[in-house]
């Protein structure tokens, strides 16, 4: 079973919420739609569910076009951001509700309810109503109600956004475990990159109704395909520094000039040789990849420590040399003092180059 989206588009009046996206979710695959608020990820999910009609394009479930089917005829399970538990029904009745529509026998229904409540540890609260539940319990009931059937696919809208940090970590693990057992295509909408990175098999990063990149969590993080993904994924944010290419040797050693007169000779992707000297680029490097050294070397920039933020095991330092801000994360033992002059080394092979059209410059692997 699969989910396929073909040129799927949704317009609300003049606003294009989802702009001709193509996406495939394979059997048993967990795909996260990740993006900032208002990027169209929930609208996309609702179109798969049948709660919104597509303006253009097709939704295919298990190879069949379902554009014109009502939600109840699509056999899709969905869990909602605010849980959407039925307020007047007990937990057990909430769990059983989707099964009534399938006209199962009472014995079969109670068997399945028992099964799900065991998986999600709901046994103690089956007789309560949603008003009497804690947030974490509501979340588990909502998940339970969506997995109790045997649908073609699962959809989760911001499943963890209402939980506090500790519960969120716990539920992340639980949901991941449950999803692995189900082996159905699953789409999770989230704006929390940690959630996406930990739960997904693949992540689709969305912006303004378009998909910017679809890849494994590892690749989205390590090999961002454009400036937006590079800046959006990872905390603290990747350093993005405008520079001008001075020249390269064809093997990936390139020299860049920066505003303020500093220059840098570093090893980057060999594809840099496609650019002619004088090209404007943006260099991207993660704060954890930068190294602090005391003496200048040819692949370092000199700068000044502006602010130091201890983060426990690591320290986040904000650098500023009067032209650009750089963020550096180091081990907490490295002594850093605000106002100190330091040199930041760009180690070989970790700097991404983005051309003027914001796309990454990378040779095929």
């Amino acid at each position: 079973m699969t989910i396929e989206l073909k040129k799927l588009t949704k317009r609300f009046g003049t606003l294009t919420a989802v702009d001709a996206i193509d996406l495939n979710v394979g059997d048993g695959e967990v795909l996260c739609l990740l993006g900032p608020s208002g990027c169209g990820k929930t609208t996309t999910l609702r179109m798969v569910a049948g709660l919104e009609f597509a303006t253009e394009g097709d939704v295919l479930l298990a190879g069949k076009r379902v554009n014109d089917l009502a939600p109840r005829d699509r056999n899709v399970a969905m869990s909602f951001q605010f849980y959407a538990l039925y307020p007047s029904l007990t937990v057990a009745e909430n769990l059983a509700y989707p099964l009534y529509a399938e006209k199962l026998s009472a014995a079969e229904i109670s068997k399945r309810v028992a099964q799900v409540s065991k998986t999600l540890q709901l046994d103690g609260i089956l007789k309560r109503t949603p008003g009497q539940l804690a947030e974490g319990e509501k979340q588990r009931v909502a998940v339970g109600r969506s997995i109790i059937r045997d649908p073609k696919c699962f959809l989760f809208d911001e499943p963890l956004s209402r939980l506090d940090v500790q519960l969120r970590e716990e539920m992340r693990g639980e949901i991941k475990e449950v999803l692995q057992d189900l082996s159905r295509p699953t789409v999770i909408v989230t704006h929390d990159q940690l959630e996406a990175l930990t739960m997904a098999d693949r992540i689709a990063v969305m912006r303004d109704g378009r998909i910017e990149q679809v890849d494994t969590p590892h690749n989205v993080f390590q090999r961002p395909s454009n400036l937006f993904v590079a800046g959006f994924i990872g905390t603290p944010q990747m350093n993005l520094v405008p520079a001008t290419l001075k020249g390269s040797d064809g093997a990936g050693i390139a020299e860049f000039a920066f505003d303020g007169g500093q220059a840098l000779k570093i090893q980057v992707d060999p594809a840099v040789s496609q650019l002619s000297p004088g090209a404007k680029v943006t260099l991207g490097i993660r704060p954890r990849n930068l190294e602090i050294c005391q003496d200048p070397v040819e692949d370092s920039l000199s700068t000044k420590i502006d602010m130091v933020e201890p983060m426990g095991a690591e320290t986040l330092a904000h650098m500023n040399d009067g032209y650009r801000d750089l963020r550096v994360v180091t081990d907490w033992r490295v002594p850093l003092a605000e106002g100190d002059h330091v040199h930041l080394r760009f180690p070989p092979g970790v700097t991404h180059i983005f051309t003027e059209d914001e796309q990454v410059l990378r040779s095929a692997t």
């Binding site: 709660l51 109840r72 909602f80 951001q81 538990l85 039925y86 307020p87 007047s88 008003g131 109600r145």
Partner: protein, 289 residues
């Protein structure tokens, strides 16, 4: 929805006393009319007014049976019919208005039209002028269509009068609901009809009760249109009440008070029945979370 129970007497004796005095002042006219219903004609007109007197049920009897002035024999009045008319007309029209209003409110809330607010505004404009302004055209329409004097005519009119109010009030209750619950029901296999009747309506029962009672009170006491548009057979109690005024023996205050007292009972009963729902209904959004 863990609602805290109010602590009885928390406000203290001072506030309770002030509230009682104000409450008494407001309730006094009602109290006095009920008292008058049990007085003889002499007691009712006594100066200074009497608080202590021998109660009598004569007035209540003469609401339904009255001695004829010419023959002296006891005759049935039509007041029973008028009470039936009042109850039938008010409940039917407010009920109809609530049904139509609820359906319209759901549509306005969930499937907004282009220019939704304009339509809502237009609906409300029908209640912006004093009713007396439209009485001539309505009277002519009723004459021409033959609706004058019929049950359906007056029910139709009251329904039309109650719909704007129902739409606006009920829409605010629908707006308060979390639409995700409806979506969840759709995902779980419910039809649109089931979503509406099984999930939306039960959640706003309190609001519907409040709307019903407010509409009922307005309609129950309506006089002007009833006076002009009901016939002998369909006359409502407020009109009948007015007709007991005057006459060759002057105003029979005892009789009038007895009719009013009886007239209070149905509405009092309904309001009392729905009281708990009412309190929840009018404070819907504030106590929900």
């Amino acid at each position: 929805m863990a609602r805290k129970h109010r602590e009885i007497g928390k406000a203290g004796w001072g506030y309770t006393a002030v509230a009682s005095v104000i409450g008494f002042i407001y309730f006094f006219p009602v109290f006095w009319i009920i008292l008058t219903a049990f007085k003889t004609r002499t007691d009712a007109l006594a100066v200074p007014p009497k608080l202590i007197f021998t109660p009598t049920f004569d007035n209540f009897v003469s609401v339904f049976y009255r001695a004829s002035i010419t023959t002296g024999t006891s005759q049935a009045t039509d007041m029973g019919l008028y009470f039936f008319n009042s109850i039938f007309i008010a409940f039917t029209s407010v009920g109809l208005a609530l049904i139509v209003g609820t359906l319209a409110a759901y549509a306005f809330s969930r499937y907004p039209l282009r220019g939704n607010d304009t339509y809502l505004f237009i609906i409300l404009t029908t209640r912006m002028m004093p009713p007396i302004v439209v009485i001539i055209p309505i009277f002519l329409m009723f004459r021409l269509s033959g609706l004058a004097g019929s049950y359906w005519g007056i029910i139709f009119l009251y329904t039309a009068f109650n719909i704007p109010f129902s739409v606006w009030l009920v829409k605010s209750f629908f707006d308060e609901l979390n639409p995700e619950i409806e979506d969840a029901a759709r995902m779980d296999g419910a039809t649109e009809r089931r979503v509406f009747f099984g999930f939306c309506i039960p959640q706003i029962l309190a609001g519907l009760s409040a709307t019903f009672v407010f509409g009922l009170i307005l309609t129950w006491n309506e006089f002007l249109f009833a006076l002009l548009l009901t016939g002998v057979e369909t006359r409502t109690v407020p009109v009948a009440m007015a007709r007991t005024l005057g006459g060759e023996v002057g105003v029979d205050y005892g009789l009038l008070a007895a009719i009013v007292t009886l007239f209070l009972i149905p509405i009092f009963f309904v309001t009392f029945l729905l009281q708990n729902q009412l309190l929840r209904g009018v404070t819907f959004g504030t106590v929900k979370k």
